[in-house]
Amino acid sequence: MPRFGMLIDLNTCIGCHACSVACKNEFDVPLGVFRDTVKYVEDGAYPNPTRHFIPVLCNHCEDAPCLNACPTDAITRLPNGEVVINEGDCNLNRFCMAACPYGAIYEDPQTQTASKCTFCDHRTSQGEAPACVEACPTNCRIFGDLDDPDSEIATRMRENDTTVWKPDEHTAPRVFYVDPKHALPLIVNDGVQVDKTADLQDS
């Protein structure tokens, strides 16, 4: 059984949002919530500022706080390691949402259940890549079996220094980053959801 993981190489992410739109389309994710977004972080002062692009999604943690927090056992780990929510067992007690340090879980307005990225288990079980990986124009996302030493992800993990989002949470994420500019700690607006407070109103 493979042990799936994802590597995101921030050297080549161009911040285009193809991943998050592909995710919206794959699951018809309702407006207002996201399973995958691209964070933009501005860093530094004029005349030498920069902007970082950081795609974020559920980390499918080895030690998943959401799974531990769910009182109805609606959150399970598939044999390949993907952490999924079984909507039928969810009574929307929101414990998982509170437990997740990444803000990856949202309340689905249609199903009235907790929902999040599934690592596209419906696709990966058929040998396909997740929708976000398929959509990435620069192939900055690598998905595959961490335990297969010949897999691209394992190779790239060996060849690069990698890190994870919020290592201090000790959740053992299985979404890894190549982060040459140390951008991950700069994420200010927490969570996979968009920062709606950034909007300025017209009146």
Binding site: N11, I14, C16, H17, E42, P49, E87, T138, Q201
Partner: protein, 856 residues
């Protein structure tokens, strides 16, 4: 504003139509129903779930989605796509790996295609206005009624012998064959485009220099150093994804990316180094680099002596005035930086290239800026070389190998003063005519050309043109525009001012033969084909134009002998091995025998080519035959070092650092055009700016393109607002804080070479401020992909949710979740002056002087 039905629809709409193909029958519902089962069986593809549920309903046993190759048209890049379709519904879009340009990659806009196709506010039925023009009162009509009225109006104009009074205004047109066929068959030269709002200055600069092409295609993938002046290839370049994927591959191989830009675009942020410049000084920086390269002997002197029409020492003499110190003073970039970058660029030669675009060319001095940037490549001898600054003679497919099916109508003999735009010497000087888009509606208002009928096609001029309020005034005036037909996918500011609206099929529902400048330097040809049938009663111009031609008659119909578009394309693609069937299966074809277009100028002329040729002893230029129209001898090459070579396709057969051609064109237009790349300071910027005076620039965000991307709820959800970007230090001086309201008042340039260039106040907008470190202190930057007032709730941030006759209520559960309702979104174009570069006519988007004032 209301768009109420004045009378019931004349045709009976399919009572289930709205819900059958709208969002109501949602994959979300299907997925939700299938989700538990999916988990229970350990994961089943979403597509299969959908299919199985549909199968239960329809009895259809097709288990797999059909994959239909086609081409994107969310922007102008036209990447190869695959539509995944099941039971007549488009499930998703992925890239077509067979496309040599995009190589299977798409961006967010491309992926968002289904949200445009199934936009609940899309126009699906022909409409005729029943109130005053612009009142928003419409009656649904049949296609028969629409055809009849349009053909009657157009026939009358043509029969009067005034075909030029029928004007056709296109926006982005990827159906150029059928558009030209229709207009030429009709006989109108009043074919207005938008190139001057896009790329005219840069095209003119490149065409002046190398002749063969007006579009550079840096060989980025093999380059070690890419010097970028104001191109935002990571978000909006005409070669967006094809360029971006090659840049990132170059980066993985260690290439260095350096950007000069007034604002921290995503491209600037992705570059190894970004230098913030004062608007309009890119050319001066390039000239200062030329100064360093020449002065320090970093040039490829041998190449220059061979291929430049102006000797190296003369170039050195010319650029001596452009010192790095002077460039620092004007641009703000330190002289030491300019020197360092110049040296690094030259050291990487020939595996180095420039790239430039709107940041350098969309200026009052844009032509000269890009002349200077282009020259840098000649200096280091990278032109046409692997990893260097390259180009391709074809901006689309090989039209000699795959010609238009006969009979092809001749070009019109009637004249259009507006299309000719003779005040701008280089606007129409080259093969690819550019015209001067920003003056069209001004000149109509001034009565310079009479218009009896206007057809707008995929062009929201009333929103997207400079001085859009002037355009709206003209479109509103029935004396100036007695009849206006709008063809578009969505209701827009422009269709709001039409007499008849024809609902256009989206790019996912129609046919095209198409291709783009090949970033891989080998031309190809592609097919755009319907991945689903057109929704409602929407139609493409490939169906509309032949029908109108038949009804107008008078010989026009003879150019449309094909019964269907498929029949026409069957004939068009006959030269492709495997023909139309192969194109339908693969979506693209590239001749495998063709090699990348490296150094075409060094190709020796063959004995057959030289047979009967004559040589000019002084210049070495080789001539053969005479031009059929002018009788002038035709140059075919040049003798270099005793060998007859093809050379560059310029008058001198060399790279024209010095161009007599443009000087002559200038004289004919009564304008002085400098033969060399020069720095021409922007007249209205040559003064001390008080603290509250700034230069307003515009930009485009990666998820948006033209008006129609704002139809997409998914793209709008990511970007739907355009506050004014202001440097923190500038704001501090003015006592402006983040989120504060400001009033931005724009001025026309005080510049006699610009129409209405009297320095007067033009207009005011009110917006709010976003403070950033990523913009020049003298700049206020506002994204122009915002500020729609009509076009549905998603496009307008909830302002316009009026139902259009024939639609029924917009059906999409997401409408209740439109969370960005009321977010600020202002139309910048209303206060952007008509401001053409006096040489080539390209619009100066980044030179407007404004005054800002804190309000509220």
């Amino acid at each position: 504003m209301t768009r109420d039905a004045a009378s019931p629809p004349t045709a009976n709409p399919d009572p289930t139509g709205g819900s059958r193909d709208g969002w109501r029958l949602s994959r979300r519902d299907l997925l939700r129903l299938g989700a538990m089962a999916a988990v229970a069986v350990g994961g089943v593809g979403a597509i299969e779930i959908t299919d199985r549920l549909l199968d239960d309903r329809t009895g259809d046993s097709t288990p797999e989605a059909t994959r239909i190759p086609s081409m994107c048209q969310m922007c102008t890049t036209a990447c190869g796509i695959i539509g995944h379709v099941a039971n007549g519904r488009l499930l998703k879009i992925t890239g077509n790996p067979k496309d040599p340009n995009s190589q299977g990659a798409v961006c967010a806009k491309g992926v968002a295609g289904p949200s445009v196709l199934y936009d609940p506010f899309r126009m699906l039925y022909p409409l005729k206005r029943v109130g005053e023009r612009g009142s928003g009162r419409w009656r649904r009509i049949t296609w028969e009624e629409a055809y009849d009225e349009i053909a009657t109006r157009l026939r009358e104009i043509r029969d009067r012998g005034k075909p030029e009074e029928f004007a056709f205004q296109q926006g982005r047109n990827r159906s150029s064959d059928i558009v030209s066929r229709f207009l030429n068959a009709y006989g109108t030269p009043s074919h207005f485009n938008h190139r001057a709002l896009c790329s005219a200055n840069r095209r003119a600069a490149i065409a002046t220099t190398i002749g063969e092409s007006d579009w550079d295609l840096g060989d980025f993938e093999n380059s070690r150093y890419v010097l970028n002046f104001g191109s935002n290839w990571a978000e909006a370049h005409q070669g967006h994804i094809p360029v971006a994927i090659r840049m990132m591959r170059a980066r993985e191989k260690g290439a260095r990316l350096v950007t000069f830009e007034t604002r921290m675009s995503n491209t600037a942020a992705l570059s190894d180094e970004w230098f913030c410049v004062k608007p309009g000084t890119d050319g001066l920086i390039a000239l200062a680099m030329a100064n360093v390269i020449c002065r320090e002997g970093l040039w490829d002197r041998t190449w220059l002596e061979t291929w430049s029409n102006y000797p190296p020492d003369k170039i050195l003499e010319h650029v001596a005035q452009y010192t790095p110190a002077r460039a620092e003073q004007e641009s703000g970039v330190p002289a030491t930086t300019i020197e360092r970058i110049a040296r690094e660029f030259a050291a990487a030669a020939p595996e180095c290239t420039t790239i430039c675009n709107r940041g350098s060319q969309a200026h009052r001095n844009g032509y000269y800026n890009d002349r200077a940037i282009t020259m840098l490549n000649a200096l280091v001898g990278n032109m046409g070389k692997r990893g260097g600054w390259c180009w391709h003679p074809r901006s689309s497919w090989d039209k000699k190998a795959i010609p238009e099916p006969e009979p092809v109508p001749d070009k019109p003999t009637a004249r259009s003063i507006i299309a000719e735009a003779k005040d701008w010497p280089l606007a129409n000087a080259f093969a690819g005519k550019m015209k001067v888009a920003e003056i069209i509606y001004l000149w109509i208002r001034e009565g310079r050309q009479k218009i009896s009928a206007l057809m707008t096609y995929n062009a929201d001029t009333a929103w997207s043109w400079p001085e859009a309020q002037l355009v709206r005034g003209v479109l509103q005036d029935e004396k100036l525009i007695p009849f206006h037909v709008c063809i578009d996918v969505m209701y827009s500011e422009t269709s709001h001012l039409a007499d008849i609206i024809l609902p256009w099929a989206t790019y996912l529902e129609r046919w095209d033969i198409d291709a783009r400048p090949p970033q891989g330097l080998v031309d190809y040809v592609s097919l755009r084909q319907p991945v689903v049938p057109p929704r409602g009663e929407s139609k493409d111009i490939r169906e509309i134009f032949p029908e109108l031609a038949r009804r107008i008659g008078g010989g026009m119909e003879a150019y449309f002998p094909w019964a269907t578009t498929e029949e026409y394309l069957e004939e068009y693609f006959r030269p492709v091995p495997g023909g139309f069937a192969r194109m339908r299966a693969d979506g693209v074809w590239m001749d495998p025998t063709k090699k990348p277009h490296y150094e075409p100028h060094t190709k020796p002329l063959t004995a057959a080519e030289l047979d009967g040729a004559a040589e000019d002893a002084e210049t070495g230029i080789i001539y053969k035959g005479a031009d059929s129209k002018t009788g002038e001898p035709v140059a075919i090459g040049i003798r270099i070092g005793g060998v007859a070579l093809r050379g560059f396709l310029t008058p001198s057969r060399k790279v024209e650092i010095y161009s007599d051609f443009v000087v002559e064109k200038g004289k004919a237009a009564g304008r002085e055009v400098h033969p060399l790349p020069v720095y021409e300071p922007i007249p209205s910027h040559q003064r001390e700016f008080p603290d509250d005076h700034l230069i307003m620039t515009s930009y485009k965000i990666n998820v948006h393109n033209a008006h129609r991307t704002m139809q997409s709820k998914w793209l709008q959800e990511i970007s739907h607002t355009n506050p004014a970007l202001l440097n923190r230090a500038t704001a501090d001086k003015l006592g402006i804080g983040d989120g504060d309201w400001i009033e931005v008042t724009s001025f026309r340039p005080l510049d006699p070479a610009v129409p209405m260039g009297d320095g007067s106040e033009l207009g005011t907008l009110r917006t709010r401020v976003r403070l950033t470190e990523g913009v020049h202190p003298l700049v206020i930057a506002i994204a122009h992909n915002a500020g729609r007032s009509v076009g549905g709730a998603y496009a307008t941030n909830g302002k316009d949710d009026a139902a259009i006759p024939g639609y029924g209520e917009a059906a999409d559960p997401d409408l209740d979740r439109l969370w960005w309702r009321g977010a600020i979104s202002v139309p910048q174009n209303d206060i952007l002056p008509i401001y053409p570069d006096p040489v080539a006519g390209g619009q100066a988007y980044h030179d407007t002087v404004v005054r800002i004032r804190k309000v509220g």
